[in-house]
């Protein structure tokens, strides 16, 4: 572990600010998290329906090709020619019979095996590859690939557990609940964020800020911490789930207009159809946010179902991608409601835009804060597995427990 990291033993309630800016820590994360014992989101299986369909995806700093082979199985391999390291796929998606590096025309089959080399035998008996060159030793670097509920994940690690074991049964249950049916993609958006990727993941797991930073929610009574709900953290802190059920709102007047910005009953939507919804889930859950370590999350907000992936772009920048989903079984009315409600999420989302902005504000706030720490003491200092209070930073502490565990590895 780097000398610059200075966590108290088993206490993840104080976080040194250097973790959001240090180049060495960034490189260690590439090795221990992104190329280490974790699973990384590579997309949805419905994005690649046919043999030969491919897309490129970042796993940390590494470009990875995800491709459906001729047998219909999904493969993932590093987008780097075994010859000179050139990108094999320059376009970010398409359909191909084989993978060809344009630099010297080396071709690979859809399983990543090196198939042909231009001028392998030379020209008119002159040149050609060295006698000892063995094509079978020069395949594209493969990742392990597993799917769960239509989500495709890859890992560089041979040791990491299978995907359902990595998530654990509680996390699997929510993935099943939200995505365990035929889904379709209704939109995909990206925004660049002006700060370290972990600032965004902390925000995803921060149940304390939701009604404070996003005053749109309190103004229009979409969610309050006083609604019934819970925060759950998986073994070792890696993943988290928070949910709430609106029909059991229990407000006891804690929301004082003087304390909460823009909390004003006179504010009403002129087009309340924005929030028209239906009870999609028998359990009555109206908000569920789930993070899957290290940088992926699944949300159900009323009927808006989204996936988010935050990709590091150096210590001080990151890139967030949103997938907005619907269910194939939706009626046209339900589909229309999902599409209207999607105004809540994404780079222009009524209750999402602040999350992107705050990453940049924290990045600027902590510039020059070497040696100092942030405090995560709301709800205590431990990482409990479950809490019914969402006025709590336990899931953020859990992130750091998981992060620390893998980085120490």
């Amino acid at each position: 572990m780097m000398a610059s990291l200075n966590f108290k033993p088993n206490d993840f309630s104080e976080i040194p600010y250097t973790v959001y800016s240090d180049e060495e820590i960034y490189q260690q994360e590439q090795k221990h998290l992104f190329q280490g014992k974790a699973w990384h989101f590579l997309g949805l299986d419905i994005e690649l329906p046919n043999p030969g369909d491919y897309k490129t995806m970042p796993v940390g700093d590494t470009s990875v090709i995800v491709v459906r082979n001729k047998n219909g199985n999904l493969n993932a391999m590093v987008n780097r020619c075994a010859h000179r390291g050139n990108l094999v796929c320059v376009e970010d998606h398409g359909n191909l019979d084989c993978l060809t590096c344009v630099y010297h025309n080396w071709t690979y089959d859809l399983d990543g095996n090196l198939a042909t080399i231009a001028f392998e035998k030379g020209i008119q008996g002159q040149g050609g590859m060295a006698e000892d060159f063995d094509k079978s030793c020069h395949a594209l670097q493969r990742l392990r690939v597993e799917e769960y509920c239509g989500l495709v994940f890859g890992s560089f690690s041979e040791e990491v557990q299978s995907l359902p074991e990595y998530f654990g049964p509680e996390m699997c249950k929510n993935i099943q609940r939200v995505l365990g049916r035929d889904m379709e993609i209704l939109g995909r958006f990206q925004h660049g964020l002006d700060g370290n990727w972990k600032l965004y993941m902390e925000n995803v797991r921060d149940t304390y800020h939701a009604t404070l930073l996003h005053s749109f929610m309190t103004t229009f009574r979409l969610n309050r911490l006083s609604m019934k709900g819970a925060v759950e953290v998986s073994e070792g802190g890696l993943h988290h789930l928070t949910y709430s059920i609106r029909s059991q709102d229990n407000d006891q007047g804690q929301y004082n207009a003087k304390e909460i910005r823009a909390q004003n009953d006179e504010i009403a939507l002129k087009a309340p159809e924005l929030l028209e919804s239906w009870q999609e889930f028998d359990c009555g859950t109206t908000l569920a946010i789930q993070s899957l370590f290290p940088n992926f999350s699944i949300q159900q907000l009323s009927n808006v179902i989204t996936l988010r992936l935050i990709v590091p772009k150096g210590p001080l920048k990151s890139e967030l991608t949103w997938w907005v989903l619907g269910a194939v079984e939706d009626t046209s009315e339900q589909r229309a409601m999902r599409i209207r409600q999607s105004n809540l999420v994404g780079p222009g989302g009524y209750i999402a835009m602040e999350d992107g902005a705050v990453v940049g504000w924290v990045r600027r706030g902590i510039t020059g804060a070497e040696g100092k720490k942030s405090v995560l003491a709301m709800g205590g200092r431990d990482v409990e597995r479950i809490s019914e209070s969402r006025c709590n930073e336990l899931a953020v502490r859990g992130f750091w427990q998981g992060w620390h565990g893998l980085m120490e590895n």
Partner: protein, 166 residues
């Protein structure tokens, strides 16, 4: 001099001028922070959508911003004024002359290129967005209004957030 392989180009100078004026007025209204006026450029059940080229070409129905009527646009502006938190910033639109793709009675389908610069407090300006407006405009007794304005951004990637309409 028309030939079947080139698209027909409408050269109705007076109509083009009226639409160009509408577009410049639209850009100016946003750039000068008269956002409460912005919905009035649309008919009552006019539609406004900001999307990306990739989503548009793939026929994706979800937008970065999606308003089905003027009331939803008014809500966007009230939320921006009262509820949402973001760093103060302004736009400067440069809008090309329009190209009329289709005319049917008093309804016109057009497309127009634009650049939108953004200045955030003391930093910038920077190019926030380039793209095209895909418009359906109605001539309503001499007043041109948008029945639909789809803002198709060239890039899939937005810097940080979008809150002010483009």
């Amino acid at each position: 001099m028309e030939n079947s392989s080139t698209p027909s180009i409408d050269t109705d100078a007076s109509l083009l001028h009226r639409i160009d004026t509408l577009n410049r007025h639209y850009g100016n209204t946003i750039d000068e922070d008269q956002l409460e006026e912005w919905p009035t450029f649309f008919i009552r059940d006019g539609r406004y959508m900001v999307t990306t080229r990739q989503n548009h070409e793939a026929g994706m129905p979800v937008g970065l911003i999606l308003c089905d009527n003027r009331a939803m646009m008014e809500d966007r502006i009230s939320a921006l004024r009262i509820a949402n938190l973001f760093e103060p910033h302004t736009y400067r639109h440069l809008i090309d002359p329009p190209v009329i793709n289709e005319k049917s009675g008093t309804e016109y389908a057009l497309q127009t290129s634009f650049v939108c610069f953004r200045t955030v407090q003391a930093s910038g300006p920077e190019i926030f967005c380039t793209g095209k407006y895909l418009d359906k405009i109605i001539d309503d007794d001499g007043i041109l209004r948008f029945k639909e304005r789809i803002v198709v951004c060239d890039s899939e990637r937005i810097d940080t957030l979008i809150v002010i309409p483009i």
